[in-house]
Symmetry: C2
Subunit: 167 residues, 2 copies
């Protein structure tokens, strides 16, 4: 796609995010299955449900912009998913695996936070308020997921500290 | 590297970040040169200076962990830098280029924010308080850069709104 206007740039980045979300719908069940902690597994399962919603929301966004929902391979997400798979295949101790899965998932969430933050700004710039509102909803859910993952990681640190203190 | 302990995982991710920061030291001057807005150019130049500091800070971190500073190719950063280059080569209108450069840079910042957030948590978990403090300093600078870029993007939207109202 030739990018000459802000509308072109917006569509290009929406196609990137649409591909990223679709990749994530496939990756999250594997991450949930690999997780040891039930809290982490539930967080991945909950986010899978949200991610399916993000795919549909993007389809509404494309429709509102008079464009077809199209995927453009998101290389960054591909790299992040591969990194997560490598970790699972390396079969480290379960606690180490969970820590690594949280790290991988937070990179994914931050990629999406940056992406949605950008496209909702461009949508506003183009006067597409309804599109901006939809993208903002997804952004808020990605931020919540990131906070939830931080909290699970912090709990792991604290649990370990309690364990160390009682030894 | 075989990953079996949290220390292995920490070193693995530090090598990823060390490669990412080094890639960024090469990419930022090109992004600064391509930017139309002087505010954006200055932001990239300021962040180049910070990024050189992040490379050195990581070298101190490796030293404190008794390990050699080593790069492990960060595929995600490679993808993000290529995306930025493609945009510059597409030669869109200058305002569109600036908007796209900000978007690309915010993805880079978010990648790093996720990465540093994770490694500083692991360093604390391993009782490496000094290492965690160093990593936290870099994390704070990445967050400030992201906020600065958001502000520049918002200024662009507002400027455009003022322009539209006065027409």
């Amino acid at each position: 796609m030739k990018i000459s206007s802000l509308q072109d740039l917006l569509l290009d980045q929406l196609q990137d995010l649409y591909d990223a979300e679709n990749q994530l719908v496939k990756a999250l069940p594997k991450m949930a299955k690999a997780a040891l902690s039930s809290e982490l597994r539930q967080a991945f399962e909950h986010h899978l449900h949200q991610t399916q919603g993000h795919v549909e929301r993007l389809e509404r966004v494309f429709e509102k912009l008079g464009s077809k929902a199209k995927r453009k391979t998101c290389q960054a997400m591909k790299g992040l998913v591969e990194e997560g798979e490598e970790l699972v295949n390396a079969k480290p101790d379960a606690n180490v695996l969970d820590a690594g899965l949280i790290g991988a998932a937070q990179k994914v969430e931050h990629y999406e936070m940056a992406g949605y933050g950008t496209v909702q700004t461009w949508a506003r710039q183009l006067g597409q308020e309804e599109v901006a509102r939809l993208l903002q909803q997804t952004l808020a859910e990605e931020e919540q997921t990131d906070e939830k993952l931080t909290q699970i990681a912090e709990d792991m640190v604290n649990l370990q500290a309690v364990g160390a203190a009682s030894r």
